[in-house]
C-alpha cells in the first residue's frame, strides 16, 4: 500500500498576501505527516502530527492564531477519527491548549465518549496533564485586528487588509 498524507487550510476568500504563508504551512504539514508514516507511524499518528503542525502556525485559524469570539477569546474545536476501528474523539469550546487535536485523540483513546465540550473538556485536559497556557497565549495581533474590523463593519467576515468583505468562513 502506497501511503499518502493530504492536508488543508481554511476555505474562503484568502487575500493575495496571505497565499504564500498558507501554502507554505500546508506543504510543511503534509511533509511532517508523511515523515511519521515513514517512521512506522499509523494514519492516526500522521493526521495528528500534520494538524499539530498547522495548529502551531499563526497564519492558520487553529491553535495559535485562532480567530477570536465576540469577547476577544479563543475557543477551539477539534476532532479525530480512526478509520480502522471507527473510534472518534472530539473536543469543543476548549481554551488555552496549544493542540486541541491531541486532546481530541485522548478523548478517543482514554474515554468511552466521542465528544467533551467546554468546562468538561478543560477538566479532562487537566486530568490528562495537558499543559495549560496562560490566558490569552493563543491570541495573535492579527486575530485582535480582525475582531476589531469585524465589530466595526457590523459582523461581516473580514481578514486584515482584505479589500473584499469576505474572508475565511471557518
Amino acid at each position: 500500500m502506497e501511503p499518502i498524507v493530504l492536508v488543508h487550510g481554511g476555505a474562503g476568500n484568502v487575500r493575495d498576501s496571505r497565499v504564500p504563508p498558507k501554502v507554505a504551512a500546508v506543504k510543511v504539514a503534509a511533509i511532517r505527516g508523511y515523515e511519521v508514516l515513514e517512521r512506522g507511524g499509523s494514519a492516526v499518528d500522521a493526521v495528528e502530527e500534520a494538524v499539530r503542525t498547522m495548529e502551531d502556525d499563526e497564519c492558520m485559524n487553529s491553535g495559535h492564531g485562532s480567530v477570536l469570539n465576540s469577547e476577544g477569546k479563543v475557543e477551539m474545536d477539534s476532532s479525530i477519527m480512526n478509520g480502522a476501528t471507527m473510534d472518534a474523539g472530539c473536543v469543543a469550546v476548549v481554551r488555552d491548549i496549544a493542540h486541541p487535536v491531541s486532546l481530541a485523540r485522548m478523548v478517543m483513546e482514554k474515554t468511552p465518549y466521542v465528544m467533551l465540550a467546554g468546562e468538561g473538556a478543560m477538566g479532562f485536559a487537566k486530568e490528562m496533564d495537558v499543559e495549560m497556557l496562560p490566558p490569552g497565549a493563543l491570541v495573535t495581533d492579527d486575530a485582535q485586528k480582525a475582531l476589531e474590523i469585524y465589530k466595526q463593519t457590523g459582523g461581516v467576515f473580514y481578514e486584515i487588509g482584505e479589500t473584499e468583505t469576505v474572508g475565511e468562513v471557518g
Partner: protein, 140 residues
C-alpha cells in the same frame, strides 16, 4: 480551519480537523469541525474526509458523510467531493471546501470558495495548491 487525512502502509485510514471557528462568533458556538460526519469522517473500507468552510452549513449537510456515501456508491473521490460540495452550496447558499482520500489512496480536493490551501505527499511527490483548479508539483 485545518485538517488532514492519511492512508498508512498497512492500509489504515484516519482523518482529523481543528479550528478556531468564526471570527466574532458567540461564545459557546460550535461549528462542524468537531462533529463526526460533518467536518470529519474516516472508514477503512471507504475513505476519509476533512472539511472547512461555513460550519453551520457543513453541519446541516453532513458534508463528510455525504462525500463518503457518494464514494461508497461508486463515485471516485474527486467526483464525490465536488458533487457533494456543489449540491450543498446550491441548496444552502453557503460555501465550503473538503479533502478526501479513498481506501486505495486516490485523492479528492474540492471547494466552492475562491481559495483553499491544500497539499499532499505521496511517494517522492509533493503536490499543492490554493486556487481552484490549479496545482503545482515538487519532488521531495
Amino acid at each position: 480551519t485545518v485538517g488532514a487525512v492519511a492512508l498508512d502502509f498497512n492500509g489504515h485510514i484516519a482523518a482529523a480537523t481543528s479550528t478556531g471557528g468564526l471570527n466574532g462568533k458567540h461564545p459557546g458556538r460550535v461549528g462542524d469541525s468537531p462533529i463526526i460526519g460533518s467536518g470529519t469522517y474516516a472508514r477503512d473500507d471507504v475513505g476519509a474526509v476533512s472539511a472547512t468552510g461555513h460550519g453551520e452549513t457543513i453541519s446541516k449537510w453532513c458534508l463528510a458523510h455525504s462525500i463518503i456515501t457518494a464514494m461508497q456508491r461508486g463515485a471516485d473521490p474527486q467526483t464525490a467531493t465536488e458533487t457533494s460540495l456543489n449540491q450543498m452550496t446550491d441548496k444552502l447558499k453557503e460555501t465550503a471546501g473538503a479533502i478526501c482520500i479513498s481506501k486505495e489512496g486516490k485523492v479528492g480536493i474540492g471547494m466552492t470558495t475562491k481559495r483553499m490551501s491544500w497539499a499532499y505527499r505521496k511517494g517522492d511527490e509533493l503536490v499543492y495548491g490554493i486556487d481552484k483548479g490549479k496545482q503545482e508539483v515538487e519532488n521531495v
